[in-house]
Assembly symmetry: C2
Homo-oligomer: 501 residues x 2
Amino acid sequence: MDLCEVESRIRYTPLQNRIMSAMDAASFIEDGMTVGISGFTRAGDAKAVPMALAQRVRESGESLHINLWTGASVAEQVDETLTEAGIIARRLPYQTNKVLRDAINRGEVMYMDQHLSLTGEWVREGQLGRLNVAILEAVAITEQGGIILSTSVGNSPVFARYADKVIIELNCNQSPLLEGIHDIYIPGPRSHREPLQLWDVRDRIGTPYTYVDPNKIVAIVPTDQPDNFVDFAPGDAETDRIAEFLLDFFEQEIELGRMTYTLRPLQSGVGSVSNAVLAGLSRSRFHDLLMYSEVLQDGVFDLLDSGKLNFASATAISLSPRRGIEVMKKLDEYRDRLILRPQEISNHPQLIRQLGIIAMNTALEADIYGNVNSTHVMGTHIMNGIGGSGDFARNAYLSIFVTKSTAKGGKISSIVPMASHVDHTEHDVEILVTEQGLADLRGLAPRERAEIIIEKCAHPSFQPALRDYYEAALKGGGQTPHVLEKALSWHARYKETGSML
Amino acid sequence: MDLCEVESRIRYTPLQNRIMSAMDAASFIEDGMTVGISGFTRAGDAKAVPMALAQRVRESGESLHINLWTGASVAEQVDETLTEAGIIARRLPYQTNKVLRDAINRGEVMYMDQHLSLTGEWVREGQLGRLNVAILEAVAITEQGGIILSTSVGNSPVFARYADKVIIELNCNQSPLLEGIHDIYIPGPRSHREPLQLWDVRDRIGTPYTYVDPNKIVAIVPTDQPDNFVDFAPGDAETDRIAEFLLDFFEQEIELGRMTYTLRPLQSGVGSVSNAVLAGLSRSRFHDLLMYSEVLQDGVFDLLDSGKLNFASATAISLSPRRGIEVMKKLDEYRDRLILRPQEISNHPQLIRQLGIIAMNTALEADIYGNVNSTHVMGTHIMNGIGGSGDFARNAYLSIFVTKSTAKGGKISSIVPMASHVDHTEHDVEILVTEQGLADLRGLAPRERAEIIIEKCAHPSFQPALRDYYEAALKGGGQTPHVLEKALSWHARYKETGSML
């Protein structure tokens, strides 16, 4: 790596003498500390210092446990290596790494699964205790000492403001063209706070840099590792069907006069269904679209390229390796159509409500009444976390959940009598889509929801058993009929026999 | 009733010729229509026209079914009489009447239980279909034709704006002093909407009247019935203990520097625990308090009288009969310390988040992980509805749920292995209080939540069984350990034997 380049990126010259190695910077981290690191969906994460910390612990054999706060998921190797070194005592607010997840499910790591818009409020108000060290990836430091973040904003601005000490990982591999893309705004103290003055997806309300008191910056670590981007599972016939059902539904809403072909600002969760929807949009009659989302994936840039999408706002850019290189090279072409914001702004209830967003998120399972489980496999073992799905589903103009109707080669029905864990209650689930069909649940009572969900969304191989369950439940009456003895029997059967059938 | 007085209250003289009887006004309601009526927690509800409609149907024997939208609960006799006459086909967003509830649980009335802040958005955007007739209680009509609502605002302004026809019940029994108390604001269209410019609980952002196109007003019906206020169950030793635990907790938070003795703006659900908390506050060291809540009950006016409470904002005033008469007489004394707003403003996610509210709501049951059921008895039969609890719990600075640890003379534990229905997920439940103690769940993982909830909140007679369940669940591992076969067995046992023990 070219250290000269690093110095040229530290335009506030008094900070140039804080340059040090990752291992030296890691020495600021001590047992029992709370450490906040940058990173959201493996974009813009602190990479070098956490790895150096793990190396130190492995080599010294010292006992070191930290509370680790992030934006959302960070680089695979960071969560994995820190978990294997036994360093993470407590983690929030989101993760996606298998090694860490297994440790959480064994009860070795205490995981607080939190709405992504909320962490900032908690940090500001000290409800989670003191933040000792923040480690933030940046691409530059301005003449005035402002930090230019990299491919994600996440919780970095609030970590920077509230941490006792700040370590900057200055990543020469990240494009300096990112400068100007960010819009950093930190809400003021409650209970006398100015409303977020954002009227439109394209509005800027903050600054392109994150301000940190330069005296708190104890280390600047030059790095050059690219983001740990991964290819998502490609779409298939089923995700394409889900996308088709959704686009047909949008067309119907337009016919009913409720929307136009510019739709409403879109939020789209991460994954193959989202990419299928975005691909469908790029071939559709919809135009002049806007996104107000968490993460911008490959499909968003395809839509920008096709001219269908006018503007995209999010908190992170998380691309496949190939697309990542392309996009970063021609970032200037996207500059006027792109904003990265703190996650508490991208996911803020005020803005989601006010902008009237169409929210599309993925369910692990849904029950016949439309309660959604997004997090817990068989009700007990966490997969990733609730992420921003609750922020969006609760406040959206339209809250859509998608899932394939079965999993594990047809052994698991994603439509079950009772969700084994509830993340989104029926109040927050308006449209449910599987490759079998789309259920429009708006305005319906639970009994009506059950009929339509079984009819439209369940896989044919599970429909008779779902109907039997519902018929039996009706005998007991109620707003939400159930046979309590059998409500979770499908999950119990799967655990026992390997199949819900 | 003095018709002259009614005419003197209709200061926009062209409307004086629309005065007619309730029975004549009811003729505007036809089979299949959607009717929106004023009313929130039995305050300010349309009383005469719905009753006349029921009378007409009973006498004529005609078949008439309507979709009935309200603010929240309306007068007991209205829901009861309309239900008994078989008139309500569909109902939203909240109710508390036993006769109606039973009809809902038998599946005769389709009940959409909705977050109270959301109805306005749905009405504006036509997602629930056309609103044919609105029936609104008012105390006056201004010189310019503005409607002065009575003891609640609820959804009346949005009903007035979007209904095809509007019927006004001009209630001479309601105090004309209510004029000036209301602050009516209707959010603009999405996706380019101005943020709600309310920075402080005391801010006014609207007008004291609700504007309706005078041509839409088809009838003005003079009435003189008082609100159907009821006395809530008085407090007892257990509600007092819950209040004490809460006030001690507030003191601890002050010691930790997280709050001052003015606390944060308070929201308090309806019921005896709320009244106990308010009574506790009036004897405490706290001062200069603010309320930003849904409903103002007796206890709020006691706090205003004692000087402890500086200001109260809500969408309805719902008092005991005695207190109601007192308060209405001296309304001028409260005028500068009181605002009634539309329920979408009193319960708005933006404002709840921004004002940093302490939200106190009642749980029917909570599970050992802190998931809360507020609505469904034994998971199937609805009690009232989610009301505003979700609006507040999700966005509050502190989300507190209270419940007695047992019900039905100790036969039911309010702390159960798994909630039989989930309205508020563990993500939205930070403090849980019973008469046994207070569990501070902030920052904790589910396994930690279980230990503290069983220890602090469960009744001693159920603690051993809860501990046994949790120990057994731990063997299966997971972020949220459960024994699926037994998770709902307590509820099943109660239904079979009449006891969870």
